[in-house]
Every structure is written in C-alpha cells, then in structure tokens.
C-alpha cells in the first residue's frame, strides 16, 4: 500500500497482480468522497471511472448550490446526509480553498397557491433541522431582489443556501484521495463482474481490476452496475437539465439564489449567481433514455427564455455566455439508496440526485460506517497528508492575476491568457503539474475557467489549445519547476 503521498493516476494499462481492498466505481463527487474517506484507513483503495477525467458526468453540470436541505423529505437518509454534508463541505471548502459564497436564497411565490404553501415549507424546513427560514411579504421580496419580474406575492428566505464551485469540489476530493494513496484508474468502464475466491474481478474497458470490496457510486450507471451484481432494485432515469449562463455584466442584477416553490417534478427554474461572477438560469427537467445526451434542445432553451422573461426580464437583455445541459441521476426510489451486501462484499450508493454535491462527504462517512459494520476492518491511519489547497476559481477570493506578490514571484501569473475569465499561463501550467492533470480541453476548462467566458475562445481559443497540447510548457518560462515536473 502506498502511504507516502506518492501519487498514482493511471489512464491505461493493467493493474493485474494487485488486489485492492476496495474499488470505488465512479469518480464523481460521491465516489471521490468515498474513496477519500476509505483511504483514511489502512486500506488499499482504487477509484475507477469510465471517462478520462474525474467529475466528467453528473458532477460537472449542475446548479452548483450548497444546500441546507431545507426542502428535503423529513426523516429520509437524504435529509440527514444533506444536512450533515452542508456542514462538512462548508468546513472542507474553507480548508481546501473551494470557492463558496454564502449568498442565501429567496423562494418566491407567484400564485396564491404557492403563497399558501410557504408555511408548510417553513415547517418542513424545521423538521429537517433548519429553523432559519422566514416568510416575507411582497415588498421585502422586491427589496431583496429589485430586478425580479412583476407579480411576485411573497417569499421564504433561506439565509444559508450558498453557491459553490462544483468542479473544484470534485477535484479537491479526488486529489486528496490520490494524495492519500488511492489509485485513480481512468478510462475504465466496468463491463462485467466476476466473483473469484473472495474477491471481485471487475472487467473494464481498460483491463481487469481486482478488489475484495466494491462500492458502486456510478451515478447515471449505478443501476446497470447494480444488476451486474445480481440485484434489481431501482432504475436510473437520466433527467436532463438545461441551463443558461449569463454574462458577468448581469451579476449586479441578483446577489442571491432565487428559487421557485418546489413541485413534484423537481425544484423548478431558478436564477442564481455563480462563484465565477455569472448568473445562471435553469434548469429544465426532462426525462431521457440516452444516458449520454448532454446536448441542449430548441424546446429547452425556448422554455428557459420564457421562464426568464417572467422571472427577471432585465436578465434576458444581457448576453448569454454559455448554454449547457447536465444529466441528473433521477431514480424511481424516493430516497438515497445506500445499502451494503456483506455476502457479496458490495455497497450500492444509488439514487443520489442533485443533492449529491452537498451530501457527498457525508455519504462518504456513511458508506465507511456501513462497510465497517459489514465486516471490513477499518484501522485509522495516523500518517494522513494535509488536504490539498486548491487553485482559487472564485471571484470572492484573490485570483492570481490580482496578486502582485505572486506575479513578482512568477511572471507566468501575470500573463493573462484567457481575457474574459482572466486565467493566467501560470494557472494553466500548474494543472499539468497537479496530482490529477487534465486529460483534455474540457478538463482544463473545469480546472481553470479558461475559455469559459463571454468570447468562448474568439480571442484565446487557439492559445489555450496550444497550451493544452504542450502541457502548459511553451507559454511560460518554468522558473520554479515543481517536483512533478522534474521527475
């Protein structure tokens, strides 16, 4: 087992010969959090993903809200883990530098019916252990969000709802897992499983992986993997959520999350600032069958524009910077489905819907408990490395281009490559020296924000592509080569 902090990321090749204590399938937020937690014990852990990068499925495209869990179904596992996760992730974000802004939310009632539903929502929040909501009148709604469209009748404030960087959250958890000695196995799509004398053989698109225990955190593919283990408990329906990201110039229009009154179909269309300084409008909710269809649709975009016009007409006068779609792993099960099968040495972590961003770390703790109760010996390690300090992608903190001391130490942080998002050559270079370097342009964008801005590459696309091809090398003098770079 590797406990020296030496990193192991493998995108190809065999792991024959190694039998891991635990293999976690899925390097999204939930899977990464589980692997990180388990690597805190004397265990040899592998983290597998079908894709070429961590966080390339459901975890990369959501509304990036750190939820209090005020509107969960009371008494459910989801309610408890979101509430715990809020606390754990808030604390983790502070220690690792994940951008968070405690903006608060305002739930707006547009009809008498919705207005009548507010007291019940307040009471539900209290049953979820959250007692800081407050019902406010129409005037207070417009005082808090002056650019809101006409017709709001009242609202419910949720002062602790926050916005977070989902990309950095995933990357921080996966990075810490790797720093703790987890073997990250990318491009490993699990095709079949076989029980072989006290261990499970996972046959993947990138070779066989052997493990005594398997944790299935495969998100959109969790039901498929579950069936490979002989279960038939639930079905995942990919629910597409399309979102529009408005220009940073729209940011002064709204400084908190504006939520609709939730319905059975989901949380409805919201308007939210982002930690990158933009404004988000979305998501739609459309059940699909294709688990890979992250395209946007004519209908979806039209629907959002219609909603936006009613919610905040001034927002629609601004430019759209990005349009994207995420797939949520909706399931036919009303709660998280986290169950250990001791006989098969297998844990299902399914039905983790959009709240998984918030609850991920709490899910990790819960899974460790379950797996320990099911018979895996958990001996805490005493030699754990410090959590990583992540590059800051948030507007609320100091970014390298603003940091004179940092630029003085390394001019690469003064060379702005992506003008719209103000990403420097130094930051791009650093990603290639990090424990989990990007495997493609999309990964680089999630790690730095490069090309995510209003010009979408008009000015910087060619340069960023060049830095991608040369692994950040050509554009900046390597004045302070890191240990990784010297290897």
């Amino acid at each position: 087992m590797s406990t020296t902090g030496e990193t192991a990321v493998s995108t190809t090749g065999e792991t024959m010969g190694t039998t891991f204590d635990v293999a976690v399938i899925g390097a999204g937020i939930v899977g990464s959090a589980i692997a990180r937690k388990l690597a805190g014990y004397e265990l040899n852990v592998a983290l597998l993903d079908a894709r070429g990068d961590v966080g390339d499925g459901t975890s990369k495209a959501n509304t990036a809200i750190l939820h209090t869990g005020f509107d969960a179904t009371p008494g459910t596992l989801e309610s408890r883990l979101v509430r715990e996760g809020y606390r754990l992730l808030s604390d983790y974000a502070e220690r690792t530098g994940i951008p968070v802004e405690h903006t608060g939310a305002l739930l707006v009632a547009w009809t008498e019916e919705e207005l009548d539903a507010l007291p019940a929502l307040k009471e539900k929040a209290e049953r979820n252990g959250y007692d800081r909501t407050r019902i406010v009148g129409r005037d207070e709604v417009y005082r808090q969000v002056p650019h809101l469209g006409e017709g709001a009748l009242g609202g419910l404030t949720v002062p602790d709802e926050s916005i977070i960087c989902t990309w950095t959250t995933n990357l921080a958890l996966a990075t810490e897992a790797v720093l703790r000695g987890v073997t990250l196995l990318l491009n490993r799509r699990v095709r079949s499983v076989e029980e072989r004398g006290g261990r499970t053989v996972l046959r993947t698109s990138g070779g066989e992986v052997n493990a005594r225990w398997v944790v299935n955190a495969a998100g959109l593919g969790a039901d498929v993997i579950d069936r490979l283990f002989g279960h038939d408990r639930f079905t995942v329906t990919p629910r597409r959520g399309e979102l529009l990201v408005y220009d940073k110039l729209a940011r002064p229009l709204v400084d908190k999350i504006v939520l609709p009154v939730p319905t059975a179909r989901g949380k409805g269309v919201l308007i939210s600032p982002t930690v990158y300084g933009n404004v988000l409008l979305g998501p739609t909710a459309e059940d699909l069958t294709d688990r890979t269809d992250t395209g946007t649709s004519e209908k979806g975009l039209e629907f959002l524009l219609g909603k936006g016009e009613k919610l905040m007409p001034a927002l629609l006068r601004e430019e759209v910077t990005a349009a994207y779609a995420g797939l949520r792993a909706a399931s036919d099960h009303p709660d998280y489905l986290i169950e250990a099968d001791a006989g098969r040495r297998y844990v299902l972590v399914g039905g983790i819907r959009s709240t998984g961003l918030t609850s991920g770390i709490a899910v990790g703790e819960h899974v460790a408990e379950l797996i320990g109760e099911a018979g895996l010996a958990l001996t805490p390690r005493k030699d754990l490395p410090e959590p990583p300090h992540m590059p800051n992608l948030g507007e609320a903190g100091l970014r390298p281009y603003q940091d004179a001391a940092r630029i003085a130490g390394d001019p690469a942080y003064g060379r702005v490559v992506c003008f719209c998002e103000r990403v420097t050559a130094g930051e791009i270079r650093d990603t290639f020296r990090s424990p989990i370097p990007p495997s493609g342009l999309e990964g680089l964008r999630r790690r730095t924000r490069a090309m995510n801005g209003r010009c979408q590459g008009f000015f910087c696309g060619a340069e960023v592509g060049n830095l991608m091809d040369t692994k950040g090398g050509s554009a900046c003098e390597q004045r302070h080569p890191s240990p990784e770079a010297q290897r």
Partner: protein
C-alpha cells in the same frame, strides 16, 4: 496580499492596440512629446488584422492595398515612430479612478493615471451560446476570430468540410482562411434574402470556392459527439429542415463590442450598437474618456476604425488644453430599417463626424436608399444614395445631410422613405 503596484502617468492611455488605438497613438504622440501609452492584452500589437491573412487592408487610411498582418505591423511601426509606447501582454482589469486604470502584466500589476483615456477595445463575434444554437456540445465550432487565430497564428488544423453561418464580408474572410487550411466550405447560410457581401465577393466567391449560399436559412441544431458531424439547416420561410454533413462550423459576424470596461465605468451605451454613446468628437459621457473604432460601430472595415483613431486626436488635445465641451446637443436616433447610427450625438461647434460620414447598420437590403432625417415630426432632409444599404456591412451616409438639422430642435431620427 498585494505588494507594490507600479504607477505610470502618461498624458493619454489608450486601451487596445488595434487599428483605431494605434492610429490614435500615432496622431497623439507627436503632439504630446510622446506621453502616450497603449496597452494591449495580446502578446503582439495590431489587433484583428494580425490574423486576417489576406489582402484588402489599408485602402482608405494608408492609400495602399496590403494584407492584414502587413497592415498591423505598419500600424505598430508608425505609432512607435511617432513616439508612443506600446505595452503588450497588459490586460486592463478595471478602473482605479476617473481616468485611472489597473492592469496585469507579467512584470507585475500596474496602475495608469492618465489625463485622458481612449477606449479602443473593438468588437467580437457572438459565439454559439450567445446565438442560442441548440444541440450537441461538438468540437469543431468556431468564430472567425478563433479560426483565424488558429490557422494564421498557430498554424493549427481544422476539418475538411465546413459550413459558414453568414454571407457577409467577414464570412468570405473565413472562407479564405478555411481554403488555406485545406478545408472546403460546402455551404454558407444567411437569414437574409440575399448574400450581404459586395457583389465582388459573392459572384466570383461562389465560383472560386464552389460554395453555395443558402439564403433565408439558419442553423438550428448541431449534431455530433464529441466531434461535429452535421448541422440541421432550417428554411426560415417554409420551416423545412435538412441535415448538412460537416466537420467544421464557422459562426461569422453578429458583432458585439467588447464594452466591459465602458460598462464598468458606468458610461452610457447606445442600445443599438451596445458600444459607448459618443458625440462627433468621440467623447463618451465620462469627462476625459473617449472611444474609437469598432466598439462604436460593430463592425466596419479596419481602415475606417483607424480613421476614427486619427479623428479622436483633436478632441483629446482639446480636452487636455482645458477647452470646454460645446453647450447644447442633438440626439441622433436610428429608425427601422436601421439598427443603429454612429455617432449618436451632435453638438454645434464640434468637428464633423470622422471621414464626413454617418455610419449606420441596416437590417434590410435597399438598393438605392433614400435617407430621410426627421426632427420635431417634420422631414428636414432627404438624400438618395447610389450605393445599397445591406445587412452585414456598415452603410455610410455623407454628413452633408446634417446641414438642415436645427441644433435646438430636439432629437433627429434617421430612416428611409
């Protein structure tokens, strides 16, 4: 944890080293003993012409016919020869006072406290998300700027079969670049009933490139994961759709000024151009802050932008000399089919607009337009022009038409008969 910031105090700071900014620098520097600083965020000065590697530049300002890169180099040489200082890799990040800005450079953070600021930040093409084109997140979708950066500056590869959205001047520029990169343009789409470019391009262009221009069409869906495979093209009149196979999609035109700095300063924008509202002396409504080039009229050709730069020099010098702004003003407003007119404000005693032309953008093709000025509900001037107003390029109207405007008569509307 910021340490010391270097403060610079030129007379004039110009933001943007494209044709308009460099021309302003060239005109101002000799009059100010060199106290002109030009900042540009790119690593090489010259602006968009740097990567438009085809002839057609410098016609009106230099009386020459040259390639974009040669033109860009010449603009830089001239500005430097005139005594201006050009700093590249300098990204202006915000304001630090009425006429002070902050920038990030590899040499550190700098603060520039000038007596006058000239904004020359240009314009960009709207990318796919801003055009709300739905479909897959396919690779192979570019704006002309991205494409030309890729091909001319980076010698990068594109695909083999391209569809170009737009059939205006810049679209043919994209087609030229694609041809050089070994990529065939199989279709150009335009929402207008006819190609918007000069006949000079359209007819030989079609023969030269073997390209069809599909009028009254638009791209409604992008198909292909992860690489572009096809686009769905809709006939706007019939709603009929067809799939056109391609591995490259170039989104041309549909310009938006890079107006971030102007908006951050609270400068009033023209809702039509989305650039700063200026008078014929190119003053914005923030004292001592001027604007030039294609951020005011997105977009005219580079030489017209450059002539703006020369034009602003006189106004900047007047401001530095403490001359006051003439009292009284008339607002000029574009009526349909015109989307915008530039400049938007006329003052008695101010210089006539740059090159004695009003610049307008038409949403409709009119072969021989009769331009009409209305003030106080009455027609005050009309003029038949012998060149067309066409969508996709700037329509220029001689300023002689303004002689009938009453400086005290209120808003002037410019339209057609």
């Amino acid at each position: 944890m910021t340490t010391d910031i270097t403060t610079l105090t030129p007379d004039v700071v110009i933001v943007g080293a494209g044709p308009s900014g460099l021309s302003a620098a060239r005109a101002l520097a000799p009059k100010l003993g060199g106290g002109v600083l030009v900042l540009d965020r790119e690593s090489t000065a010259g602006g968009i012409p740097r990567h438009s590697d085809h002839p057609g530049y410098g016609i009106r300002d230099m009386r020459r016919f040259m390639s974009g890169p040669a033109y860009a180099r010449r603009l830089v040489e001239q500005a430097e020869a005139a005594g201006a200082t050009i700093r590249t890799n300098a990204t202006v990040t915000g304001w630090a006072g009425d006429r002070a800005i902050e920038a990030t450079t590899p040499e550190g953070r700098i603060r520039v406290e000038a007596r006058a600021v000239v904004l020359a930040t240009g314009a960009r093409e709207r990318p796919r998300p801003a055009r709300l084109i739905p479909g897959d997140r396919a690779r192979g979708v570019y704006t002309t700027g991205h494409l030309q950066n890729l091909v001319h500056l980076r010698h990068g590869k594109v695909g083999r079969r391209a569809v170009i959205v737009g059939a205006e001047l810049v679209s043919w520029s994209a087609a030229l670049t694609l041809r050089e990169a070994g990529c065939r343009t199989v279709l150009m789409t335009t929402e207008y009933p006819r190609p918007d470019s000069y006949a000079l391009f359209s007819v030989p262009g079609r023969i030269l490139f073997r390209t069809r221009v599909a009028t009254r069409t638009r791209v409604r869906r992008i198909i292909g994961r992860p690489e572009l495979e096809a686009v769905e093209v809709e006939n706007i009149d019939t709603g009929e759709r067809r799939v056109v196979e391609c591995d490259t999609l170039i989104l041309t035109g549909d310009w938006i000024p890079d107006h971030e700095l102007a908006r951050a300063a609270g400068i009033t924008l023209d809702p039509g151009t989305k650039g700063p509202l200026v008078d014929s002396a190119l003053r914005t409504d923030r004292p001592g802050v001027f604007a030039v080039g294609n951020m005011l009229h997105p977009v005219d050709t580079a030489d017209i932008a450059a002539i703006d730069g020369a034009h602003v020099a006189r106004s900047v010098i007047a401001w530095l000399n403490g001359e006051s702004v003439p009292a009284g003003q008339v607002r000029l407003v574009a009526d349909a089919p015109f989307r915008w007119v530039s400049p938007e404000i006329l003052r008695p005693g101010d210089p006539v607009p740059s090159r004695r032309r009003l610049l307008l953008w038409s949403d409709r093709y009119i072969p021989f337009p009769q331009v009409v000025l209305r003030q106080g509900g009455k027609v005050v001037a009309r003029r038949r022009l012998w060149w067309p107003a066409a969508p996709g390029r700037v329509f220029r109207v001689p300023t002689g038409i303004l002689s009938a405007v009453d400086p005290k008569g209120g808003t002037v509307h410019i339209g057609t008969r």
